[in-house]
Subunit: 320 residues, 4 copies
């Protein structure tokens, strides 16, 4: 028994590693890996579009068979993908040195794996129990989340949101506070005139949110002069506050970009202390730039600028 | 008498200090202090939610007793909290060296204490005079302001708003000016066609505000070609102007963050003059970073960058 | 005759200079100058409020006499102000060395003086010709522009807008281009279904502007599926583009602030070459900070930072 | 034959070069070139305005002849312009060293030339086949794109958008994801109550887009309490996310400006190593500033600042 396992183990790793490289590895992608990635991305998007179209009763009636077939095929592929991912995750550098079972358990409870599971498990259960799939419509739309496997561009996005979380929470609380105050004021002023919309603070909240976010549906509108005066102030303040979180995020975004560039500059400068960048140093800089999501053009520009700076700046008196 | 006071003083300080630490101190919070803080935060939020729900007549009818009971209990706790705060404020570092009475008076007229007072006093009076509490609904919502005790994240927010106040005032005045001009123009153009909405500059102002802030309820809409032409210009200018204050705030926010980081960098550099950061220097840097609301990760990254900069940058001639 | 003029000249200058200082000078304002400024600012704002209220027919009927009286008094004061300004402008540093007549002519054709003239001349003519003042309502609102005399905070605002004019024009042209394209597309798609709103490109433009600026009145809404699909793209692109000018202005604003600070830092560093800032240097720095609209606190912080930087940064090896 | 060609070649180049300079060259524009440029810009704008007006049936009826005549004249001029551009493009520096035919083919398939062709070819065909020009209305509006010949200000705009494309795509995907999730949720909640608007995810999408972009027409509004609660969260999140791309672009814009300034500063510093800027260096700096779209004033300010910096900063030890 042990022997047999050993023999299969001799063969398996090579297959498992190759599966891992096709499904998960990012650097130096093979043609096969790229095809698989594109296929899965297109399948995910098609699934979401199918879920959206199938929710329209008329389409659902006419293409019932096709929708069912497509769902069945997609589900099979996603199941296979999930099993393969769980199987080959052992090869991931971060699970290095663990036993295969432990690595797989660890992977299975990671967010990406849980998302994958959530988008297939209910459908398998529903199919076995012959339940109506339409009730799970919402879960099928969540398959969009599977795209996070493939777009590492969200990386910098999440970093920035995380760093700015404190300020955004503060801004959000000020906004919520103003919404509650605005709703209370309008309830006091227009509660008697439009009891259906401002009859309680709870009802006024809907108007306050719609107004502060500048959506302005127009289903609820103040009609008394005092109500209009208060709304005026709320709109003017609201418009300034509600755009703040986005502005903060954007400002921090610029800050993050600048910091990453500065970090890269420090490395370029230390690489340039001997006056030139050799092939090894260049490779290291390219890798760092890639990790920091700085484009090669920006890297080259920085190198050029720092080289010029070294020549133009440092030797005004002594010629060094 | 003096003796007795002295004796009680021997006991009191320890209790008063402990009360102060539980209620007000921020650094090194004990488990008890954290529990009290969470309890009060939840109580404040529950109060506001209760105030919002109680304003809905049907809920108020059905849960009259419960609302009254909850209000009574909350009010008692807030009263106790207020009294304890006034009592123990003597221990605050900023009132050090004052007599207890003077310190308490000073505290009582500070903004946070006044907010606390405003949100309890009217209700005590109303209860004693058996007045209808519903009229004080708006004041109960103001209890939200009590949260400022607990969120020091507003700190940087207020600093930035204060610094940018001049520019924001200027932008706001330009916006107000444009609103008045827009209202006058539309009154001239559409006053005859829609007298109800544009019959006077006063009436046109409502349309101007709703349009300039891009809320656009749609209750008042220009219908003449000339009115639409003028509105087009107003919308295009308005949309650019109204987002300015938020953009300015966000830009200044980034500036503030950068300045604070620069300030920290100066300290790191002076700590690094001997080539290393000892435990004492590290503690000082952590405290400063905390005061400047810079996360420990950012501190560590700055230290690493400056260390590398010292090695890579400073020694092109002498090898040091 | 010449003699007499000379004598009055001996007296006049002192009066003229004092008038100039009260009306125009900014630095070292006397109590009288401050009172006059506040009085004029309040008078201007009251005038605009009166103009807004008087346009409401019912108020105009009831307070006809009062409005007329207030207008008469205001107009007299503004006339007097205008004449005094023209008279005393000779003392302005920029008209130094010119003859009094030439200086006054120069001043009379400057923008601020023309604004003052426009807001009084038509009313004087109308009064003499006994015309109905109500037709000049719009011009009375323009008196708001007289406030530019008093708020120098617009300074940095105008600088930034001027510098960013080219980018804003580019962004505005892209927006206008998209509006025209959007209107043409919607005319092609919804022209047959809603001929009243999309029957021609001209009519579709109103929808395009209202949508791209995110005002969204809701008076014109696409109803065909294709129309909704196109609108979706237009809204998503529009929302990103329309906020660009404000974002650019805000970014340039931050840039401007940073540049001014940098300029100040250069001066502080040159003042600190001898290791200290004497009273004379401090006065010069304060004046410069005032001119650059940098607050004294920021100046002090910069000085402190640069001082620390000099000590911590420049002497790691040699102790200098 | 060869001889004759040679003779005409002796004459032609001079004419072709002059044509090229009038139509395409940007630096050192002659009066004639400026007039031609202004004429063509005005002609393009008039054409678009004519296309917009002609789409209005009543105008089209009344001024049928005039519109046709104007179209005929414009088309002839644009044809002539196109032919001249193709003819003289041989003189462009980037086609230097190619044969005339190859250069013209290369030019003909460049984007600007294709735009020119698209806006004339269909009309020529339509005229020859006597087709109704009204069907080509949309193509006439596209003549606006011909303006890209003349406004090089879009340059920095496109650079910034290109650099930020990755982040904007990420933000856009998050927005699209949220729109789909919001539509699915609202379909689940309000699908039964308002089947016409929320009866399927497809139908809910329209509401989701209109709400997330803060356009808020008000044609579709949630009416159930749960629907309003979900909308509240969607609006608050949406308002922050939808303004992100614009904020990112604006931040990158500021970054780009700063980088360009830094690049210029490096050149100024290297020019200042000998302590002064001679005429040749000044010309080079002006050209660079022009290429980087930095205004001459900013260039001068930078030079001044760097000069001062050299004096105030660089000589703490040796007095130089």
């Amino acid at each position: 028994m042990i022997k047999r396992q050993k023999t299969t183990n001799d063969v398996k790793p090579s297959l498992r590693i190759r599966t891992y490289q096709v499904l998960e590895s990012e650097a130096h992608k093979s043609v096969l890996a790229k095809c698989v990635t594109y296929f899965l991305v297109i399948l995910i998007i098609s699934n979401v579009i199918a879920a959206i179209l199938a929710s329209e009763a008329s389409y659902h009636q006419r293409f019932k068979q096709q929708f069912y077939l497509f769902e069945f095929i997609s589900l099979s592929i996603f199941c296979l993908e999930y099993l393969l991912r769980v199987w080959c995750c052992v090869e991931a550098p971060k699970y290095h040195g663990m036993s295969a079972t432990k690595a797989r358990l660890r992977y299975a409870i990671s967010p990406v794996a849980l998302i994958d599971l959530i988008t297939i498990l209910p459908f398998i259960i529903a199919m076995f129990l012959s339940l109506d799939l339409r009730a799970l419509r919402l879960l099928r739309v969540l398959r969009l989340l599977k795209l996070t496997h493939y777009f590492k561009g969200f990386n910098i996005f999440i970093t920035v949101v995380n760093k700015e979380l404190k300020s955004i929470t503060a801004a959000m609380m000020v906004i919520l506070f103003l919404i509650v105050i605005a709703a209370s004021l309008m309830h006091a002023v227009e509660g008697k005139v439009q009891p259906e919309y401002f009859g309680s603070i709870l009802r006024s909240l809907w108007w306050a949110v719609v107004t502060m976010t500048t959506v302005g549906y127009g289903d609820v509108v103040p009609i008394t002069p005092l109500g209009k005066l208060i709304s005026t102030f709320i709109m003017l303040i609201g418009v300034g506050l509600v755009a703040l979180p986005a502005g903060m995020l954007a400002a921090r975004f610029g800050e993050e970009l600048r910091e990453r560039k500065k970090k890269l500059d420090v490395y370029i400068e230390s690489a340039l202390t001997d006056g030139t960048i050799d092939r090894h140093e260049y490779q290291a800089l390219t890798d760092l730039a890639d990790k920091l999501e700085i484009s090669p053009e920006d890297l080259h520009r920085s190198i050029r600028l720092i080289k010029q700076g070294k020549h133009g700046k440092h030797c005004p008196h002594c010629g060094k």
